[in-house]
Amino acid sequence: MLLQILVNGLSQGSIYALTAIGYSLIYSILQLINMSNAAVFLTSAVIFYALYTSLTGSSIALTFILTLMAAGMIGYIIEIIAIRPIREKGDSNTYALISSIGVKTILEQICQGTFGSEIKQFPTLLDGKYIDLFGARTSAIQIIIILTTLCILGFMSWFTQHNRVGRGLRALSQNIRACHLMGMPVNTLIGISFAVGSMLAAVSGVAYCMYLKSISISVGSAIGNKAFAATVLGGIGELKGAVVGGYILAIAENLVSGYWSMSASNFISFGILILVLIIKPTGIFGKKEQKKV
């Protein structure tokens, strides 16, 4: 039983982690909590479903790539429409926050309008195959999700360390004005960071619906808050923090709902978050900001 819970925790943790990386990426650059990230999670799942049923028919891979591109575009457009005008005016983040809430409402309502609120079947990979992992019954899709998350974490750490654009993003997170002075295309880079964040949300959205083998419009609501909590738990702004935070949260939740009750598990996830923040305000991996006078 314990092992089963751990495996469930790992796969759910991966879902949280993927979305959390998106939150963390954008936060580290703009110190902005991008509320529309959860809406992109839902929108990309709906786009995948729409593409799968209408255009590309059978091949999951092609649909997945198209969805990723669409999600990247959505992320870029969100940045241009909702965030850039405010950011360039140098206004405080609260205003960018409100416009990202506006975008969240718009995206959610469009999905609601077009998709309807009925549940629908969602294609999945290697359906029905179960592997007996030391007595814990894990479905193939769970393994795939865990592996993809680890690969993406590897890719992201490579991307931010060695790739030119990735290093640009990391530079941005240190000091945007300096990047301006260095002649870096700050606006496009921030646009790319939104696009990357959205793509990550798309991956986790589609993966989650594949795990559930079905899709409905309320799929994003629970995940949005939890992923956000995971980002903070791991230390906001730290990519590996988002992943570790996601896993800790998911495993704790599954343990509690396994041995106690599901409604208690929500208590636990937010309870842990507050406890960690009180003990170490910047989260597990976060660096303590020096109080400069």
Binding site: Q109, S117, I119, R137, K213, I217, A222, G258, M262, S263
Partner: protein, 418 residues
């Protein structure tokens, strides 16, 4: 430029406050018109349903049922038979939110042009409840067709109506079927944590105790929950014979699929709320032998049903085909609601008070789900049968009703309702 924009916005706002009146003159339509019909003899009915938000699909089905009912009336030449006396429906979207629902209720009550004869109420009891006091005070009939909370009718004074069996009766009957008829003794329960889930779970447990069965586990889940693996793992430990689910149809699909991943083998029972074609379709083979409860006599030879199905296909052919040639459960209830409303108006219910009195006397009305009548306190007297997804000879999975069950098994007596 900015100054112009600010003045534009502020003036727009003042215009909006005035614009909100949409024709309603001051003081609202309190005066008792001797007939609710407007200038050209048509009757206006307000419909407040959650067209956006979580229960949006149910709202659409009810709307389909109402429209099919209107189509039937149109075929019979409207109310007076000669093309006059139309019924006009005004739809409102309450977003499944109590505050929104109450605001709409005030709008309906206050509006004198169009003057609403009655209001066909919201889907969830959480939204119909705050409106009940508003309609009771303004003496406007509230037809909350899907409200199944036991104390909704008393709260709405004598102006509230509902077409669905109250939770206490429905839950007791399901328990009786599971324990006595199907002979299941080891039962686990999964229920949604909204007011409907809580109440049905309470009555189900009570009846089970009366019949000497204590539940192995009863697990509550928060709405919006998608991943049930932890609950199902826990229930698997208690290895039950039957799992009873008081959940919405979307959740049943998730639970049944995830039970497969967790490896929980047992029988499954759902309440009437999720005994729908949608569940049938989504579950596919997993749905086999899924028990359900249903009030409908799927008697294809029943003329009322045949006429309903024709009109339904005429208006919603694509949806009909998509649901492999069955009409949606909530559309049937919408249709029943429309038929009973038309019947009440035709038999003298032309003012709000008259309509209320007339509708309260409903007895053995030939509805699509068999005869409907309002017992004492306007509670719906309707029998409910056990039903199951069974593979017919052609190998297709279909919902089947065990209608002859009542000849050998008096469910109400067993459930202690008599």
């Amino acid at each position: 430029m900015k100054k112009f924009l600010s003045l534009l916005l502020i003036s727009m706002m003042i215009f909006m406050v005035a614009g909100c009146s949409n024709g309603g003159n001051g003081g609202g339509g309190e005066e008792k018109a001797e007939t609710a019909a407007d200038a050209n003899g048509d009757y206006h009915i307000a419909v407040s349903l959650p067209f956006t938000g979580t229960n949006a699909s149910y709202a659409e089905y009810i709307q389909m049922g109402l429209e099919v009912g209107l189509k039937k009336l149109e075929k019979d030449g409207w109310l007076n038979g000669d093309g006059t006396g139309k019924i006009i429906l005004d739809y409102f979207d309450d977003k499944n939110d109590a505050t929104e629902g109450a605001t709409i209720a005030e709008k309906i009550v206050a509006s004198s042009d169009p003057y609403y004869l009655l209001e066909i109420g919201s889907f969830a009891s959480g939204v119909s409840y705050p409106c009940a006091t508003i309609y009771r005070d303004a003496e406007v009939p509230q037809y909350a067709l899907t409200c199944s909370k036991s104390d909704f009718l008393p709260t709405s004074g004598d102006w509230g109506f509902s077409l669905s069996v109250t939770q206490d009766t429905a839950a007791a009957r399901v328990a009786a079927y599971d324990i006595e008829y199907l002979g299941k003794k080891n039962i686990a329960l999964i229920y949604s944590s909204d007011s409907w889930g809580l109440e049905t779970c309470k009555y189900y447990t009570e009846t089970a105790e009366k019949l000497g069965v204590t539940l192995l586990a009863s697990e509550k889940y928060e709405d919006g929950q998608q991943d049930f693996t932890s609950i199902l793992t826990k229930i698997k430990e208690t290895n039950p014979e039957l799992v009873m689910c008081f959940c919405a149809e979307n959740d049943i699909v998730l639970i049944r699929q995830q039970a497969e991943t967790v490896g929980l083998e047992c029988d499954w029972q759902v309440s009437s709320k999720s005994r729908t074609s949608n569940v049938l379709q989504n579950l596919g083979d997993l749905g086999e032998n899924l028990y359900g409860v249903y009030a409908r006599t799927k008697d294809l030879k029943d003329p009322v049903y045949i006429e309903y199905e024709e009109l339904y296909k005429e208006l919603y052919a694509a949806k009909f085909a998509e649901d492999n040639n069955t009409t949606q459960k909530y559309a049937d209830q919408g249709y029943n609601c429309m038929l009973t409303t038309i019947w009440a108006i035709k038999n003298g219910g032309t003012t709000r008070q008259a309509f209320r009195d007339q509708l309260a006397t409903l007895k053995d009305f030939p509805g699509v789900q068999g005869p409907i009548s309002f017992g004492p306190g306007r509670r719906v007297l309707q029998t409910q049968y056990l039903s199951q997804i069974v593979r017919n000879e052609a190998g297709e999975l279909k919902w089947v009703n065990y209608e002859d069950i009542l000849n050998t098994f008096d469910v109400d007596a067993v459930a202690g309702l008599k």
